[in-house]
Symmetry: C2
Subunit: 144 residues, 2 copies
């Protein structure tokens, strides 16, 4: 993990009277390196591969802290468990293939226009947006 990032997180944690520990840095690193959304269990396994002492509770506790600090976002995809991804980077949304389960990301200017529309028509002030399209990916379509 780069030094500037460590310091950003350290500052955030300190402002809440919390500490930066090796486990917390590890969890953050795993999420960051995946470049995609991961379920807690998977984060745990990847972290454990690096530090075999880490426990699942710590992963969950850390995820909740990172969530509170606004560093990590919790996704509710169409499954029974949650997924986590880094906040920051450009906003993006998901196309989920119901056949093979693959999750692709997309972005579109239309979403901004939709946000403006909701503001105008309903007076709604948007803070975050979740969009999931469920269907068939190009790959699975061509197989049919």
């Amino acid at each position: 993990m780069k030094k500037e990032e460590t310091e950003k997180i350290l500052a955030l944690l300190k402002s809440e009277g919390k500490r930066l520990t090796s486990k917390r840095a590890l969890v953050y690193q795993v999420i960051q390196e995946s470049e995609s959304h991961l379920p807690a269990e998977e984060i745990y396994l990847r972290a454990k591969a690096i530090d075999p002492n880490i426990s699942l509770s710590t992963v969950y506790r850390t995820l909740n802290i990172l969530k509170e600090l606004g560093l990590v976002r919790e996704l509710h995809l169409d499954e029974e468990h949650h997924h986590y991804e880094l906040v920051g980077g450009t906003a993006h949304y998901h196309m989920i293939c119901s056949q093979c389960g693959k999750v692709e990301e997309f972005k579109s200017k239309l979403v901004e226009r939709l946000t403006e529309e909701l503001e105008k028509n309903y007076g709604f002030e948007t803070k975050s947006i979740h969009i999931d399209f469920i269907g068939l990916c190009a790959n699975c379509r061509s197989k049919t």
Copy 2:
């Protein structure tokens, strides 16, 4: 529940070798009358008010069947439990107020345009769409 609806459901159930029972009709009726998405627990409570003998397991079993038959949709809003709503009716999406928890529905032509865009750019064939805007509703905004 109207006769034509009963018959639609009866036919669907029969085609799967299943039966139309009073409990199943009741669960369907509760969802239908709510005109909105309900968590399983709430469906259970409302059904129980009408038929005190119904159990939570039956509600869950029925929800799963209605889901398989394509009559009911399961939503993954930003909470720990699922919500259910009737399929059919016009497509709509959700604005969730993070302050008071109110869920409003909206629809927009922009969503269709987005669907076309994904088809064109990624070859993705959309079957269903979930959109949640999280933020402040007009009411909570004016209180600040």
